[in-house]
């Protein structure tokens, strides 16, 4: 084999590797939240209070620049159970005396796990945080923490 041929083969392999890395990145699947290790475990009240005390600090702690924010396990009392426009179950964990709670949205795969959950139950859910709790002057109300891609951990 000539040197020229050898160089060509090495180049071809390099190009192939580059293409497969590019394709892999492009088709990278969405993060599987339930398979991701939990970053923090909280009571709904404590997480809400951390946000209401210093939202900026809490955002720095929990939110990620590319949206791969912290995975949390939240324990709280079920205040409300609804469904969103995407037919996903939404469970609000909120202590009666708290100003805001944690709104946990489930997925088409985990919806059924909530079937036996009732208002007043104490449950633990795992999901990714999307935004924090705060008082909004324009809405004139407190906004809940938003947790997405949730599943039940303890019921």
């Amino acid at each position: 084999m000539t040197t020229k041929k050898k160089i060509l083969i090495v180049l071809a392999i390099g190009v192939l590797i580059a293409i497969s890395i590019a394709l892999f990145m492009f088709f990278k699947p969405a993060r599987d939240i339930q398979a991701t290790e939990t970053d923090y475990s909280y009571n709904a009240s404590d997480l809400v209070n951390e946000y209401l005390t210093d939202a900026h600090k809490a955002n720095n702690k929990f939110l990620d620049e590319e949206g791969n924010s912290k995975v949390l396990e939240i324990t709280g009392i079920v205040k409300n159970i609804t469904k969103d426009f995407n037919n996903q179950k939404v469970i609000l964990l909120k202590n009666t005396k708290d100003k805001a709670g944690v709104n946990a949205t489930f997925t088409s795969a985990t919806n059924a796990h909530t079937n036996s959950v009732k208002i007043g139950d104490k449950i633990t859910v795992k999901g990714v945080i999307r935004s924090g709790a705060s008082y909004d002057e324009d809405l004139e109300m407190y906004e809940n923490v938003i947790l997405d891609k949730c599943d039940i951990v303890i019921q």
């Binding site: 492009f26 969405a30 939110l63 990620d64 426009f85 995407n86 924090g132 109300m141 938003i146």
Partner: protein, 181 residues
């Protein structure tokens, strides 16, 4: 007799205050749609909160930006990143507006109305005045709203100067809003 009149008055007063009460919606859907010859990109958000005050016409939407879901994970990361919507620094987008023809909307009777909404839209920490139309429907006392409008990204300092995103993302994206109060 006096009691009857008084209780009737009380009922009328109560029903009036119910209708005048601020309506809150946490059942919402906001969709971004971008189309270029290269590809169509769509993102969906089901976690926004909105209020509508039938008395004053005040309308507010608060949109958690990290709740936008894309088909491709890489696109979602681009969207959230500093180069695009910088969602860690600006976790929420917001619309505060007024329905200018609020008196034309009868909130106690079933019907469909076109609302003229004028106000401010804040995306990526940048606030711009907007004026758009929305359809408000009243059915059995339930209020719902939908609207489709365009957002020019460069107005909100969202711009890709070079590379793939600059050719694959439209300069103007279509936003669809649905809310049930």
């Amino acid at each position: 007799m006096k009691k009857v009149i008084l209780s009737m008055l009380a009922i009328v007063f109560l029903s009036l205050t119910t209708f005048a009460q601020k309506q809150v919606s946490s059942k919402t859907h906001i969709k971004f749609f971008s189309t270029t010859p290269a590809e169509n990109i769509e993102a969906n958000n089901y976690a926004s909160v909105s209020t509508l005050d039938p008395a004053s016409g005040d309308i507010v939407f608060s949109v958690p930006m990290q709740s936008f879901e894309f088909e491709k994970a890489l696109m979602q990361e681009h969207f959230n990143s500093k180069k695009f919507l910088n969602t860690k620094a600006n976790p929420k987008a917001k619309l505060t507006g007024k329905i200018e023809n609020i008196t034309a909307i009868n909130f106690v009777e079933d019907g469909t109305y076109t609302a003229d909404i004028a106000g401010d839209l804040t995306i990526n920490g940048v606030t711009k005045p907007i004026s758009e139309k929305a359809t408000i429907s009243i059915q059995n006392g339930k209020v719902s709203l939908n609207s489709i409008f365009n957002v020019t990204l460069v107005d909100y300092e969202v711009a890709f100067k070079k590379g793939k995103p600059s050719t694959n993302i439209a300069k103007t994206v279509e936003v669809t809003v649905n809310a049930e109060y």
